[in-house]
Amino acid sequence: MSTIVEKFRQYRKPGYYEKYDYHWAMTIDLDRCTGCEACMVACQAENNIPIVGEEQYAMNREIQWIRIERYWEGEYPNIKMNFMPMLCQQCDDAPCETACPVFATYHNQDGLNTQIYNRCIGTRTCAVYCPYEVRYFNWFTYTWDEPLEQQLNPDVSVREKGIMEKCTFCIQRIRIAKDLAKDDDRRRVRDGEVIPACVQSCPTEALIFGNSNDPEAKVTKMMNNHRGYKVLEELNTTPSIVYLTKAHS
């Protein structure tokens, strides 16, 4: 009898990710984050994110792969502000992946929730299904005023209208790091060799990135921190980002 239960559990949770060599993860220390939004501008510079303009912004159509959420706590005069960077959680059981009718988003060997731009037909189901609302749609083909387009990063494709986009953990940097590691006598990517643009520019080092399959990685240790928790854990999307609550000295 137990084999059937075991088989069903194995079927229900194939657990692809133990077998893959990398499982990229990130920890965000809310005690360090000061809400300065350097990560947002860094991400915009690295990933060719367009400027949507004033009236599009007024219609709530901004494109910000990582955004800072603000939560007031208490009332004047003992009022507190809590910042929370919110980006794609690269969930292991992502509700958006099963929803896409054309496999424009799936879970690759790096444990990343990939978004394939030329495959997307724009049904936007993934954005409805994402509880974190971190998927952004190209409502128009956005343009860069001349000569701003010279700044576009050649490693990241520029999206046309009708395509969904989201944080990819700077997959172009991960690919380059894996290629360099492969050329260097086929070793694995060491901890700290690849970091996304937001982690690299965060001035308070609140964001830590690494391979959570590797027990010595800094991120794995941080993930086991007693302050660690996952946002909307009760929806059991098993996100790959662990937030660390604000401590009280």
Partner: protein, 441 residues
Amino acid sequence: MFDHGQPTYAEVNKDIISTMLETGPKYWILLGSTMSLAGIFFFMPWIYQLFVGVGAAGMNRNAVWGTYLSNFIFWIGLSHSGTLLSAVLHITNSPWRKSIYRSAEAMTLFSLITAALFVMVHVGRVWFVHWSFPIPNQMGLWPNFRSPLMFDVMAITTYLTASSIFIYMGSVPDFAAVRDASTGVRRRLYAVFSFGWRGTAREWHTLGWAYTFFAVFVIPLAVSVHSIVSWDFALSAVPGFHHTIFAPYFVTGAIYSGTAGIVTVMYCLRKFLNFERYIGQVHLDSLGKLLIALSLIWSYINVLELFTTWYGGSSFELEALSFRMTGFYAPLYWEMILFCAFVPLLMLTRKIRWSWNKMLVISILINIGMLTERFIIVATSQPRKFLPDAFGFYVPSWIEISITIGSFGIFMTLFLIFIKWVPSISIYEVKETLKPLRRDA
């Protein structure tokens, strides 16, 4: 069955086929206006949106589904009229369905086509929408059959084929009747349409069996189509969508709005093609009773949904519920409740249920209520999901409103074409309901 006395077989033929052959100037004016309505209000904004991008509509980051999808569901809902009338009542062979089931099926087919068009308008890159069909393509990738949208694609294509075969096979004998009653090109054309039907016992026997099988297949299909359409919402984790009651809720809503649609169409057929003799009081009365039953089921499910949400007490669901009932769209919500739950109760009195004009008004109100219901589900649950700082707002833009109006144009155009090409009342079924001719009579 017939308010103004029994017509003879020949009169039946003449009456129904005459509506097809003689086309007065009024018909052309009506056809021209509906085609321009469709063209100006539906296709031109759509072409504009194709050039500019889906941003022309009012959707934004957190309400990525807008009126296009709620219209899609409304039109799929309307398509359930045909299934119910022709298939279910055919199986239970109730006599009163016989004269109205053909145009009900036509309503099914044309609202399905309009719904399919809405998918094209809704999708961001319509020039790659063929990737969602399981046909080989440039990238060698096959669609993801785990996605509710793939269920949609499969269910709606199946439903489209099934209902078009269903209506076509049902009207083959009538095509033969038209063939015999017409000359020249039209005769040769209908000879082809009717596959050379002669009405022999073997043909009637095979058609009877095939038709029954079609009906048997279409009923579960219709139920599955609308539950699959509800699963686009129900399989998500969004607080306003994620209820297990959604499948029966949508199926009931669909049959309910479909039946209301039939009453509207019957009224128009009676008025413009003066079928007073064929569509009588009994149809109106039975449709009215059906509407009352369906509205009670619908209200029950609505109350059930509110109760379970309130009883559950999760902050997400309660917030979605409170925004729906007291937020910006609260008047729309209460208007929906009024039109779909309370107005139909008027039909309990015979005085209202028997007057065609009152029933027309009630059926139109019901359908307006159902359109708002779909819009409410889409517009009030999406902007307020889990993270309060990401709450947003959704207001349809002029393009969405004009495309919604235009979609009725498309439906009416198709229906007007149908009236001239296919007998809108099934000739042989009406004859069946007449008392057979007796030698001594």
